[in-house]
Amino acid sequence: MKEVFEELVKKIITKEDFLLFIEEINLLEQVVFKNIEVPLWKRVKGKVREEFRNELQKLEKEGVIPASPNQQFSFFDELKNYLQKIPQVKLEIAFEPSEDFLLRIKKWFKEENHQEVILDITVNPKIVGGAIIEYQGYFRDFSLVKEMDKLTPHQILVGGKHYE
């Protein structure tokens, strides 16, 4: 079961993805006991993302999702609990990040920490560059604006060199 969950989590990158995923699971839990003769992926047609529906269809065909409604309900409940335990990384950056950039950051965290994370991205151009990171209670400000604050007006004007 854990392997299945881990596989699903790989597709969740940002906090928005996470919230959407949780919402879709909630929706699944609502339909678990209705029209049980119809497969789940068909029951949620038009209610969830197509991508999510395809994944659901795959899991149902492979028999990963149990057949009985009661077992299905507890499967989704466990999945939700698993997702909620994944740590979030708050990241304040100065630009709108690309999908590829986010994937690279997520991968970096996985390699460094051996743990999946969910990225909570805030775009704040005021920090100029760099990033402000909050992770598991730790706060680090690696923003460019902080570095610039330390410079004298002279250093800013002449490109970092101080002429007498």
């Binding site: 909050e134 598991q136 209670g137 730790y138 706060f139 400000d141």
Partner: protein, 491 residues
């Protein structure tokens, strides 16, 4: 906000409010948080870390209505501190040192001090060796208090405890001692009475009132004695003698119980948490007579108050407080009902270190009074049977009654030691022996009035030199004609 940001950058740790329950907030994050540490929220509210769980920390906040779930929190890596200033004299402040008297901000230099400081160690402490005059005769003679002593004032509600404490404050403030009144869970009207009394007696500028009313959150009330003691230590460290009054610590215990039950600590006896003794003893222990580095003696005298119900002094908090103080002054409801003021039961009151501060004449006089009062109480029982009493017994009864009259003292009457010696010298000499009790009452009032006018200023200076009872008797004998002249001179 800027405070929050700078602390955040300094400590590099961030947390979030994940739960709110009255004045207690639950915080996740902040991995290096320590108990007793001060935290700051993004809107600048400060709090004290009360307990640490695996994932969640319990924090006491003082203005919970300003907080919301999800708000960010930073560590400060400092214990909880309050800004203390010389400008607090003559002001009413709350336990967070914010003025609440409507007179605007407190100006002047402020020093940030931790509210939880360690009590002075044994090597810094000095024996209690100087008497502290409360201006209340029954206390000064029979249950004497010394500078640096911790004396519990215990009794039922409305038996005159606060009145006595105010008299002690006035008497001390007039001698230049800094007085701090810490009100815990008081009603605003009661605070007003205290303020008016101190102003009327012209000592308000020598006092600091640290007030937490019953309208404040329990966390503010819990903080009051700590803040009061920190302010007392600030003045003591400047070389001043301080008298601090905690009115009252039974209410404080109740507020702490409320907090402990809210954070789901295991309740102990009477639902109080197990550390209630430690919490209160740690505050009271900070009082005492100590030596400064330049060999000067400074002191904090603490008069904590405990309230009882129908004279029951065996309650949990009451006995705790008795154990952490150097004696107690017991305000007896039965004595109060007999109409005696102050309603102090001198026989059930104890002063463990006060007696060592007394001069031989005070000790001798107190011994004589106690002996006479014991004999009086014994024959009082006998006289109720209606038996015919000997002349000697009748005299003893009369003396006992007259001693009680002398000990009766109005709420605004402060009697200094010299006057106390003079009045008891008169009774010891037998000045009122053949006079009816009502005449004695009138004469005492007249003496007090004349004393205030300065008529007895010579007597005052002479009486201070007297060493023993015999000398006192002969001195009184010498000045009797003068006293008679003053008392009976036609207008």
């Amino acid at each position: 906000m800027s405070d929050f940001r700078s602390y955040l950058e300094k400590t590099g740790e961030i947390g979030q409010i994940v739960g709110l329950s009255h004045s207690i907030v639950y915080i996740s994050g902040l991995p290096g948080l320590k108990p007793g540490e001060m935290i700051i929220t993004e809107n600048g509210e400060k709090g004290i870390v009360h307990g640490l769980g695996k994932e969640i920390a319990e924090v006491l906040m003082f203005e919970p209505e300003k907080l919301k779930v999800g708000e960010e929190v930073a560590r400060t890596n400092k214990p909880f501190q309050i800004p203390v200033s010389q400008g607090f004299l003559g002001r009413i402040i709350d336990p967070l040192c914010r003025p609440i008297d409507g007179l605007g901000p407190v100006f002047g230099e402020k020093k940030y001090l931790s509210i939880q400081r360690e009590a002075p160690g044994i090597t810094r402490r000095v024996r209690v060796n100087k008497p502290l005059e409360t201006g209340v005769m029954v206390v000064d003679l029979l249950v004497p208090v010394g500078y640096g002593q911790r004396e519990l004032v215990i009794g039922d509600a409305k038996t005159g405890k606060t009145t006595f404490l105010l008299q002690a404050m006035v008497s001390q403030a007039k001698e230049g001692i800094i007085c701090i009144y810490v009100g815990i869970g008081k009603e605003t009207s009661a605070v007003k009475i205290v303020e008016d009394y101190l102003k009327e007696m012209n000592v308000f500028d020598k006092t600091v009132m640290v007030i937490a009313t019953s309208e404040n959150p329990s966390t503010i009330n819990y903080l009051s004695p700590f803040s009061g003691m920190t302010i007392a230590e600030y003045f003591r460290d400047r070389g001043e003698k301080v008298l601090i009054i905690f009115d009252d610590l039974t209410s404080h215990a109740k507020f702490y119980r409320e907090i402990s039950l809210l954070v789901k600590r295991v309740p102990g006896r009477s639902s109080y948490p197990g550390d209630i003794f430690h919490i209160q003893a740690a505050v009271v222990e900070r009082a005492g007579n100590i030596k400064t580095p330049d060999n000067k003696e400074v002191s904090i005298t603490a008069l904590p108050v405990a309230e009882t119900l129908e004279n029951d002094i065996s309650g949990y908090i009451q006995t705790n407080l008795m154990a952490m103080t150097d004696g107690h002054i017991f305000f007896d409801i039965n004595v109060f009902r007999e109409g005696k003021r102050p309603a102090i039961n001198a026989f059930l009151s104890v002063s463990r270190v006060g007696n060592q501060t007394k001069t031989p004449i005070d000790k001798a006089l107190a011994g004589w009074i106690k002996r006479k009062l014991v004999e009086y109480q014994r024959v009082m029982g006998l006289s109720q049977f209606g038996v015919e009493l000997s002349l000697e017994t009748q005299k003893l009864l009369d003396l006992g009654k007259k001693l009680e009259i002398l000990f009766n003292q109005g709420p605004k009457t402060i009697i200094p030691r010299s006057l106390q010696l003079f009045l008891f010298g008169l009774i010891f000499f037998g000045f009122w022996e053949d006079k009816p009790q009502n005449v004695m009452k009138v004469e005492i009032d007249e003496i007090l009035k004349k004393y205030k006018e300065g008529v007895f200023s010579e007597v005052e200076s002479e009486i201070k030199k007297i060493k023993n009872l015999e000398e006192l008797k002969s001195f009184i004998g010498e000045i009797i004609p003068k006293v008679k002249k003053i008392l009976y001179l036609p207008l």
